[in-house]
Subunit: 263 residues, 2 copies
Amino acid sequence: MEQMLLGASPAELRKRIRSGEFSGPTGGLARGHVQANLVVLPRAWAFDFLLFCQRNPKPCPILEVTNPGQYMPLATAKDADLRTDLPRYRIFRNGELEAEVTDVTHYWTDDAVAFLLGCSFTFEAALLAAGIRPWELAAGQNPPIYISNIPTVPAGLFSGRMVVSMLPIPAGQVARAAQVSARFPRAHGGPVHIGRPKAIGIQDLMCPDFGEPFVLKADEVPVFWACGVTPQIAISQARPEWAITHAPGYMFIADMKDSELEE
Amino acid sequence: MEQMLLGASPAELRKRIRSGEFSGPTGGLARGHVQANLVVLPRAWAFDFLLFCQRNPKPCPILEVTNPGQYMPLATAKDADLRTDLPRYRIFRNGELEAEVTDVTHYWTDDAVAFLLGCSFTFEAALLAAGIRPWELAAGQNPPIYISNIPTVPAGLFSGRMVVSMLPIPAGQVARAAQVSARFPRAHGGPVHIGRPKAIGIQDLMCPDFGEPFVLKADEVPVFWACGVTPQIAISQARPEWAITHAPGYMFIADMKDSELEE
């Protein structure tokens, strides 16, 4: 990754993404600023999805919801365009993944409602600042991700199991990791589970549903957080006529600072 | 008030209210249990109102939203009926207050969506437990209520100014009061303003918009919290074809405990 990108502001990064100059994953960029999961749905599905988020705040913590048809967020960033400012999008038709694209201008409708949801990068940054450095964060890898057996609370046709990400935390730092992440309820908050993968339906910790296999070190405890991929499972269950999401790892870079989410 | 009522459980109180045996204000009843503001709207207005709540969490902290047509809450109470279990309701037509009634069974529609919002009783109980005893709480009075000049963030046609309640807090306890109430974000959370009524558009503190005139003592600071009457202003602005709310002071008594709202 270019050094220039690492120092770029959120507005500069969005401009480069919009122009096609940058189309990679956004992890590690615009440090200190919030990144967001994106879900876009037709107005007719928006109440049920907003209710799904309200009932499942850990996997779906709302940062902002746009008015129908509006593609410029108001609370999280200025002069942004949600149709062009993410490096990669997913298009779903009737719950099936149809395509991955870099611009959704032609998919956007007059009644499209965009949901921006908090992302794990915010609490991961807080963990790093607290001296908690799980290997995959340090190495810039994505954490392993699992489909747990924890049910979400349904709303309308939206339902499904909760997706979780796992960080291996040194045993002596687990309590601190829980405490530090809990300060960011709008970025998934505290862990949903600590220590017993089978208790949440994960049979083989070493083989995540997404991400690379890995080995847990002897002094590490697996700690699980709700993951912003959960809505994509709920969309595949609900089968709305269309939906747009970010592609995992290719997030919306907001102007909002991580510190603004601390509670 | 009967001594028997003061010791009654939430389920017992709802039964007495449902039967018409009790129809008074609910302040002081079922101590330790959550009470809730109620807003009911047709499904077609529910997305905008849910979005209004999401954008204005201090005046409109969501405890639960029912599925369309359902009058039995799931998260806040068991075996409750939102059509009969509040002692007094308000019926709005096109934003105008039409009637106050004790049963809304005949107003409930197949597409009615009920919103239960947290109430100040929860943080007031926490203040009392922390040794902070403003006069009107001790005396069982309702606090003075003002229409501030703080704008709510609009959603659809819902908009308007924030309604606030005021407690006169001894100067030495103001910081503690802010801290204690902030632990209950789903019951209006921390104050929205401390100390300068004119800064939020309150010209004469002694003459509230609702409630009795009073005198601030020399050592007291006026502390303002967002109030659950705010949605009623927003409804009068939006003018939905119909809406049902609780009558101020006549709340829904939930099974949920205040302690479950502490964060």
